[in-house]
């Protein structure tokens, strides 16, 4: 195959754009103001409750915690109950340790750092945002949250601070204040475990991504 991709592109681009051009070429179109959205603009007090009710509908599970020191023990418990081995892939232990320097990972858990490679049963991440409207958690790709950790392990455990829950999808984008040129490579809005209904419309969890999603919801002490 020997096409000059650049030249090829230029020609095609011109061909397509010739057909698309508007009468008013130069003007920047003003996005019309959207009519008010008739869905609840949830009040701050109830965000956690709404998040949890939507979240549970997605076949995910949760435990509330009041301190990050509980995380290793709860991961161990979850692994003992659900996982086929004790391998955990995570890149947030530093984050946890920063807050809790004395944090210890109990045996027999084995911690792996870096991207997931399919050999760890459990992935552990720290969510950047939660969305009440849909019961979703949002994970942004970074050194602390490589995307493969969200998808390759059989079980995904995610820590979410209830203070990071926003009312709806728009507020989530706002909070992330994304700008072209400095975009994270991937942003995953995750709502429940992986699922498929491709065989006889029967819902089956764990198609290619995690079979289960478990949230550790960090609640402010009352």
């Amino acid at each position: 195959m020997s096409i000059n991709l650049k030249r090829f592109n230029r020609i095609n681009r011109k061909k397509i754009f010739n057909k698309l051009e508007r009468v008013d070429k130069g003007a920047v179109p003003a996005i019309p103001k959207r009519p008010p959205l008739l869905h609840p603009q949830y009040d701050i007090e109830s965000l956690t409750d709404i998040f949890l009710s939507k979240f549970s509908a997605s076949a995910a599970s949760f435990q509330s915690i009041d301190s990050l020191t509980l995380v290793p023990e709860l991961v161990l418990q979850y692994a003992e109950q659900h996982a086929s081995d004790m391998n955990v892939v995570t890149n947030i232990s530093e984050v946890l340790q920063k807050n809790e320097p004395s944090l210890l990972w109990p045996e027999p858990l084995t911690l792996h750092h870096g991207p997931a490679n399919g050999e760890q049963s459990i992935g552990l991440s720290y969510a950047d945002v939660g969305i009440a409207e849909t019961g979703s958690i949002v994970l942004i790709s970074s050194k602390k949250n490589p995307t493969s950790v969200n998808f390759l392990p059989d079980h995904h455990i995610v820590i979410l601070n209830e203070l990071d829950i926003v009312p709806n999808i728009e507020m989530m984008w706002k909070k992330l204040s994304l700008v072209a040129g400095s975009m994270p490579r991937a942003i995953n809005i995750i709502t429940g475990p992986s699922r498929t209904a491709d065989i006889e419309q029967t819902i089956q969890l764990g198609a290619h991504g995690p079979r289960s999603l478990h949230i550790l919801l960090l609640m402010e002490p009352a």
Partner: protein, 480 residues
Amino acid sequence: MPSTAPHNQAAFFRAKSSDALLDDSLQAALNHAKGGFIKKRAEAIADVDSFESYKQQAQLVKNHTINNLDYYLHLFEQNVEKNGGQVHWASTPEQLNNIILHICERRDAKTVTKGKSMVSEEAYLNASLEAAGINVTETDLGEYIIQLAKEPPSHIIAPAIHKTRQQVEALFKEAHDLGDRQLDRIAELVDEARSQLRQKFLDADVGITGANMLIADTGSAMIVTNEGNGDLTATLPKVHIITASIEKVVPDLESASAILRVLARSATGQAITSYTSLFSGPRNVDDLDGPDEFHVVILDNQRSQMLNGPYEDMLKCIRCGACLNHCPVYSTVGGHAYGWVYPGPMGAVLTPLMTSLKQSKDLPNASTFCGRCEEVCPMGIPIPEMLRQLRNQEHKEHLTPLISRLSLAAYMWLTRHHRLFHWATKLTHWAIRNATSNSIIKTRLLKHWFEARELPLDDEKGTFLTQYDKIIKSTVKGQQ
């Protein structure tokens, strides 16, 4: 061996739909599917305060974008480049294939994993990659099943909806070397696919996915899935190629949110799918995973011709599949009968516009005009009206049978000549009443009707207008 037959078979709708009605396992699969999507969508819509307001917002976004398509495509291109990715333009499906082949060959790719992409189906991309010696694996479970079956998808969001679990089991047995392992349960089938595809994800050189939306403001592609296969395809290989088409662009993330609110509810009856992901370029410096090349190939394939014409609204289609799920014809004959990539009502509009009206002239006629497609369309696309426009075009281009053109023209002429019209009505009245089972009416003219049904007889006292006329006359006489 190409995994999908690279032929447009829309010309054979009549034969294929008749076969479909007699295909027992297809009918079993369709019957099984019937109602499921409809019920889930209805529940999802009832669950929100005002789905109508969601629809309005989404339509506003799309109308605005379609009116400024050049601006937003240009902005998208600039921003993808800012993010370190590349945008490629393809006027035709062949060009799309050439661009992707070129990218694959430059990176010496041997294996490709694919997320579901209807745009790539338009181009028969798999066949083209395979012809170049590249091994392609579809990773969406439904797509994987039909790839094994060497069939095209029969539904735009549930590609293997026409397969029963027994058929899937047989396909896996043939392809996977199962020994005497049984895969009776659906859970076992899903697990089998999961373990087979796991290594493919890890080994692939290039990952190709579709996109549900292209976000101009941030230069991102939004991909909506439930299985997570799209994310693995976009994350593990060293090159990520996105196939999309020009009408997929939206201004910004806020606009995308409006469409997200109607998309999954209309498609699968979910408030949101398991995974909604935004991919905006190659891996950043301190990322631990992700591809080092990011390409977006944008296909036109006749779409720009639809702008500013009677079919422009079709560019608002977000490929949710609600019109398929609610179409009585689609639900009875399945997707393959339609013969090309897009089946059902939206396909009956798109196939003639994107391929050839002459080759797909049955499709616009394969509708009872029941109007349910338009009713459930989150974008409010007037599909029946477009099918009617296509029928007008067929009539103008003499693509309809001469006999039906002539008899319809004669009938329409009669409607404007009431005395002759009523004379003709009386003649038909007489003919039907006196038709024996071997008369030309039953064996030729209305043969198809009589194959399944009787024709109710009319009143022996004559047509209503005849009877009414007599009554009026006798009343007048009585009054005199």
